[in-house]
Symmetry: D3
Subunit: 69 residues, 6 copies
């Protein structure tokens, strides 16, 4: 399935921290960047997200802001 979200960045799961409802997943992309994704605990379980796995961080482009020094 192709999806309309424009941003798909490949990386590796660095850590998964699971709470009661949500999970905080750290994804290592190009060094030194880490992307943080907050997804539901059930999605983390459903996808079987574990440290060291190859995943893709997906972001809809309307959610991206820009900062400039």
């Amino acid at each position: 399935m192709k999806i309309s979200a424009r941003n798909m960045i490949k990386g590796k799961v660095e850590s998964v921290d699971t709470g009661m409802i949500m999970a905080n997943v750290k994804i290592k992309i190009e060094s030194p960047d880490i992307i943080t994704a907050i997804i539901t605990k059930e999605a983390a379980k459903d996808l079987g997200i574990k440290e060291g796995e190859d995943v893709v961080a997906i972001v809809k482009s309307t959610e991206v802001m820009i900062g400039k020094e």
Copy 2:
């Protein structure tokens, strides 16, 4: 100012496509990735976003999804 958004990825503006209300900004991060940001035309103008400039793509972590093959 520090902000709570967890994801800040440095890159360079690759292109700016401006419509009547919104603007589509392509940001080149680590090759070969390009991040697409949809921001208001007024924000693009206010920040003076132009090709070749150093910017930061900012994404709140609750907006990041995860995909897995």
Copy 3:
């Protein structure tokens, strides 16, 4: 690819209205519901979204609000 977004609703494209930067896509799901998706013009083109096609409306669960009479 499996994705973490919890909401995937099958439907048919009812109409595509394309602006300079964004596109408004109407997706018919179970009668009488229509889902409106605002995606980039480039995503609409890249996926080749046309009236009558089978698509899936995808929504991250942190984006769903609840209303109650």
Copy 4:
């Protein structure tokens, strides 16, 4: 009050799972679809969301992505 969010889908609360800060609410719409909403615990309490109740899932159209096989 009318609101600008384009997507309002009627359903029934199927389950409410409450954590410390967030709550995961499953809403049954047309069979076999279930919509997952992540809202604050306080909102779930404030609206008195309970299994079997009629609710409306509300989604701003800029939050809807499209997938296509």
Copy 5:
């Protein structure tokens, strides 16, 4: 209808700028703050949003970030 979105800020429409697909609505809340809302053109029309009208800016709490000097 009560909705789960935690943030409802009363204000007056200051301006409406309509594009092909989206509209940029400025809402004056307590002086000197202006809130900018990007909604679909169809929603702006459907609600009959016009300068000087009383409206409510609605924001889901998962969409609010925090900045600190």
Copy 6:
């Protein structure tokens, strides 16, 4: 750093309620309004968010809906 998010509302932290993964931060802006922000626990800690502090609530304009009586 300037950021593209159009909405920055100054306020004071009224309370911080921390869960396992997320934190619920109440920000008092002009009386009687309170803004609720759901951010990660790590962001709340990283910014050192505490009651009584001056902060800025930041919202991307594509996340603002409009309600009208």
